[in-house]
Amino acid sequence: MKISRKDFIKNFALGAGGIVLVSEGVFASVFAGSNSTIKAIIVDYTKCTGCRTCEAVCSASNHKIEIEGNQLFGNGNPSMSNIKVWRYHPPVDVPITCFLCNDAPCVEACPVKPDAINGRKALYRDEVLNTIKCDRDRCIGCQSCSDACKKERGGVIFPDEEGSPTSMCTLCNGDPQCVKWCPYGALSFLEVTSDMPLREMSPDEIAKVLEQTYYGN
């Protein structure tokens, strides 16, 4: 799986073909060979303009405000978003949200003993949508999960002041709002396959590939 991902990076980096690789045609052929059942936010980096609407929408959807008994979208403070658009110079924008990695190194790293009944550690993969969740009552704030994410993957999840992980994608209970409201169609909610390009990589790594694609000779 890792070899395949690196091959993709290489191909992507090698010039004009790079942009074509993330076209729908490639996705379609990739899906055909997959039997994975994890659905996640998939980014077409070539369509992202860096407007950060996804951040505002994610924040609003995941931090609702109660008004007269109704749960309404929050004010859209982007610092509370689970998706983050990382910006580089020369201009490259890299939206990153939890990849819902198949092998979930963050869950692997959680040192809290699995619960006797449901088998969950403090950080666990939810059965319904395969999202990564934290049981804050059991989390010891050791930051092993965020360290593992940073070291082994994109560095998506961050510790809060108590050390517990934040920024795990919730998929908005199956109707991801970032996908719905992205003005540029850069985000999709799709079944993950092992060989999708630029997945489970850090923003710095993705930015290097994109920089080469846009601004390489």
Partner: protein, 600 residues
């Protein structure tokens, strides 16, 4: 009051003192935010007319619009507000008399200032050493920027993020042009988004302030949250619908206008002596799209992605951080008869790296090209540069001299009004400025009622964004005060009018009339501050060229603006504004009606 932070920061660069100044509800109701709020605050700092714009007494303000930070589509805009270092009246008792100055930029810095908890940042005084301002919510520090002094905008943008070690910080900064004292220097944020006009970057340079670096995690509470959420969904759906307008903005941004403007004879060509450019197809949007551009980029919460980047090939090849726009493409392209698209992009790159205003730069080069062509100056005057029409290499040499403020650049860095006074020989006839501020890329013949009025009556000196009609002028300053992008205006109509967003956020309820009245107040505070410096009707005058020289080709061929006719148009304008026709100064009754008596 909800929907605002209610506080502006005041940073004294001479003493290092930092204050949080509360802003009253009354002031928000009268001036909303952004440009107009900045002007109201500026009034209190400029305690007397004629303050030297380069002195510690002149404040420099970063003013995010009222909507800035809320994810309302296309509401990211921030105004720089200060007293202009560029403009001057024909007659005044004050040696440093100048207009107000404002300059508007999109990008990401304005929203971040709001997230940090402030509705504006005001710098007063002057630092001894280069500094930058660091803000993370409540943490506010002036830090040594000595090692960054001398860095171009591209290197700096990368270096400052490395120093901070966190990409989530937003920055705005000056280039070396401002450090070196180029009057028409810009303030730049995030990949060459420029508050280009009016010399605000120069003022920042005089204060030895290299940059502001900001991160915030807060947001103001909203007055009517349900209303806000509903409006936001509706406006996003409205933008989401397919439309030709949206498609055009995304395809070419303002560069779409390069062809259109040339076709109808409204383009600045050959130092404004022509309105159409025969070679426009070589540098139009389609050429750029095919040959250079690779990416579309958006500002915070923007739906139109008008900004482009890419890669140019050939002798002038390299990374293009900022694709041509209508203004940059015209001023360094058509206005100089430049047809090399890669060379044109290179000139823009270099100017952005110095952080200088490309509109004025295109005027300065075009003016000198014309002087050289007419043999009013020789190559010795130009430090050996053979400044022929259309010559990219010669133009680049000149840009470097201007950016470094050396050789002929010492004079050229002060703009065309100054150059004409140095060169003389009748050159002031084709020095294209109003009040010392150069015109933009929209030419005047045949468009006197729109662009002619916009240039003569704009409060920062010639400005193409002001508009020729009074209602439009009022809306323009309202937009700058809300932080709204002009390009998205057509979506904010009827049930989705700006007024409804103002109410949802702040509880300020305005009828259409009251909304216009507010814009009128905003426009008049600037006008009256200018009048108090000594500006009068005689300063609202177009360059001589437009009353003498007809174009030799294109749809506006042979049209020459008639002096009497234009004077009549101006008479009507002053009357409609409630200003004295003889002097152009607002009537006392007009100021009273607008609650601006304090300016009398």
């Amino acid at each position: 009051m909800k929907g605002v932070n209610g506080i502006v920061l005041e940073i004294n660069l001479s003493t290092g003192e930092i204050k949080k100044l509360p802003v009253s509800e009354k002031i928000y109701r009268q001036f909303l935010g952004g440009r107009a709020l900045g002007m109201r605050l500026l009034k209190d700092y400029l305690i007397e007319p004629g303050i030297d714009p380069a002195s510690p007494e002149n404040p420099l303000m970063f003013m995010p619009g009222l909507f800035c930070g809320f994810p309302i589509p296309n509401s990211s805009r921030t105004c720089m507000v200060t007293k202009s270092p560029i403009t001057s009246p024909k007659n005044s008792t004050y040696p440093y008399a100048s207009t107000v100055s404002y300059s508007n930029m999109g990008g990401f810095i304005g929203p971040e200032i709001k997230f940090a908890g402030y509705d504006g940042i005001i710098f007063i005084g002057k630092s001894e050493i280069p500094v930058y301002l660091f803000i993370e919510n409540e943490t506010i520090e002036l830090r040594d920027a000595s090692k960054f002094w001398g860095m171009g905008t591209n290197s700096f943008e990368t270096a400052i993020i490395e120093e901070i070690g966190d990409r989530r910080f937003e920055t705005a900064y000056i280039g070396t042009g401002a450090e070196n004292g180029v009057l028409f220097s810009s303030v730049i944020n995030t990949g060459a988004r420029a508050a280009g006009r009016g010399g605000t970057g120069y003022v920042m340079g005089t204060k030895k302030l290299k940059a502001i670096v900001v991160r915030g995690t807060c947001m103001p509470e909203i007055f009517d949250h349900k209303n806000y959420v509903d409006l936001l969904s509706q406006i996003r759906l409205s933008f989401g619908a397919e439309s030709e307008s949206k498609k055009d903005w995304r395809y070419g941004g303002t560069a779409n206008a390069l062809q259109f403007s040339s076709d109808r004879g409204s383009q600045a060509v050959k130092n404004y002596s022509e309105g159409s450019f025969a070679d426009i197809e070589k540098i139009n949007v389609h050429a750029a799209r095919v040959q250079v551009w690779k990416r579309d980029m958006a500002c915070y919460s923007c739906q139109l992605s008008c900004k482009k980047s890419g890669f140019a090939k050939g002798a002038y090849g390299g990374i293009v951080n900022e694709g041509i726009e209508y203004e940059t493409g015209t001023m360094l392209g058509a206005n100089l008869l430049v047809t090399d698209l890669n060379g044109l992009h290179k000139m823009i790159e270099i100017a952005d790296d110095y952080g200088i205003d490309i509109i004025t730069l295109g005027n300065v080069i075009g003016f000198l090209m014309e002087c050289y062509d007419k043999k009013l100056i020789d190559s010795t005057f130009l430090n050996g540069i053979d400044l022929k029409w259309g010559d990219v290499g010669a133009s680049i040499e000149l840009i470097h001299l201007i950016g470094k403020n050396t050789g002929i650049g010492k004079e050229a860095s002060k703009g065309v009004k100054h150059l004409a006074s140095v060169i003389g020989k009748g050159s002031s006839d084709f020095a294209i400025h109003v009040k010392g501020h150069e015109l933009a890329a929209w030419n005047v013949q045949g468009y006197a009622k729109s662009f002619g009025i916009s240039y003569t009556t704009a409060n920062r000196g010639a400005c193409h964004m002001t508009g020729g009609e009074i209602a439009g002028q009022n809306l323009s300053v309202l937009r700058d005060s809300m932080g709204m992008c002009n390009f998205a205006s057509s979506w904010y109509k009827n049930d989705l009018h700006y007024r409804h967003f103002i109410f949802a956020l702040t509880g300020i309820a305005l009828t259409e009339d009251e909304f216009q009245h507010t814009g009128e107040r905003m426009f008049n505070i600037e006008r009256m501050m200018n009048c108090n410096e000594g500006f009068t009707r005689e300063d609202d005058m177009l360059p001589e060229r437009f009353f003498k020289d007809a174009y030799t080709s294109g749809p506006q061929k042979d049209v020459v603006l008639d002096r009497n006719e234009f004077s009549k148009i101006m008479d009507e304008y002053y009357l409609s504004r409630g200003w004295k026709v003889s002097s152009g100064i607002p009537e006392e009754s007009t100021l009273q009606k607008l609650e601006l008596e304090f300016l009398l």
